[in-house]
């Protein structure tokens, strides 16, 4: 069974630039999550989708971050404009439902200079 796919794996940008990350969840998984993991900390949930609807985006900085899952499968997370403190690993995860364990992708390491 293929796992959660993410691209790119690494991205370096300058502050105030824009960046987008892509996630393809495990086939059949209705729930998709985006996490931010800052060095030395545990992952923090940014947004959770159930199919193509948003379930929880309470910790998403909506002035600069946006995410979509238009067809209920793939998802993109965008940052515009980026700040230095956005440097982190962005993890995508999926699960059959919100009650099941989550499976994580390898992450995208973002460096903002």
């Amino acid at each position: 069974e293929a796992g959660v796919a993410q691209s790119p794996r690494y991205k370096i940008i300058e502050k105030r630039q824009s960046v987008a990350f892509w996630c393809n969840p495990i086939s059949g998984h209705a729930t998709l999550y985006w996490y931010q993991q800052i060095l030395g900390q545990g992952p923090k949930l940014l947004i959770q989708f159930q199919n193509n609807g948003v379930v929880d985006d309470s910790q998403l900085p909506k002035d600069r971050f946006s995410a979509e899952r238009l067809k209920g499968v793939d998802s993109t997370l965008k940052i515009q404009p980026a700040k230095l403190e956005d440097s982190a690993v962005y993890l995508c995860a999926s699960s059959l439902s919100s009650l099941n364990e989550q499976f994580f992708g390898p992450g995208t390491r973002l460096t903002v200079l």
């Binding site: 030395g40 929880d56 499976f103």
Partner: protein, 114 residues
Amino acid sequence: AQSVAQPEDQVNVAEGNPLTVKCTYSVSGNPYLFWYVQYPNRGLQFLLKYITGDNLVKGSYGFEAEFNKSQTSFHLKKPSALVSDSALYFCAVRIGAGSYQLTFGKGTKLSVIP
């Protein structure tokens, strides 16, 4: 609000010795508890979970964890450590109803010394 504490930033253990990685939690309802492991440059991998039932939960790669409600703990254990167990371990909690959000601890780095 729910929270997780992993009191040790790093745990060192000799190969073949038993290992314990500690986790305590705070929730207002019944907890769902999870352990994940993260190897360098890889995503988190699910190890085990406690939902209800037997307090001793067995998971992948010979790991187990014991749920202790009175001490609000969910320590990860393994009887005999392997060098390949060296990684970053995360404890996570969510409540059993209503909230979907998984809250992670800050992680504990386990080093198994040959």
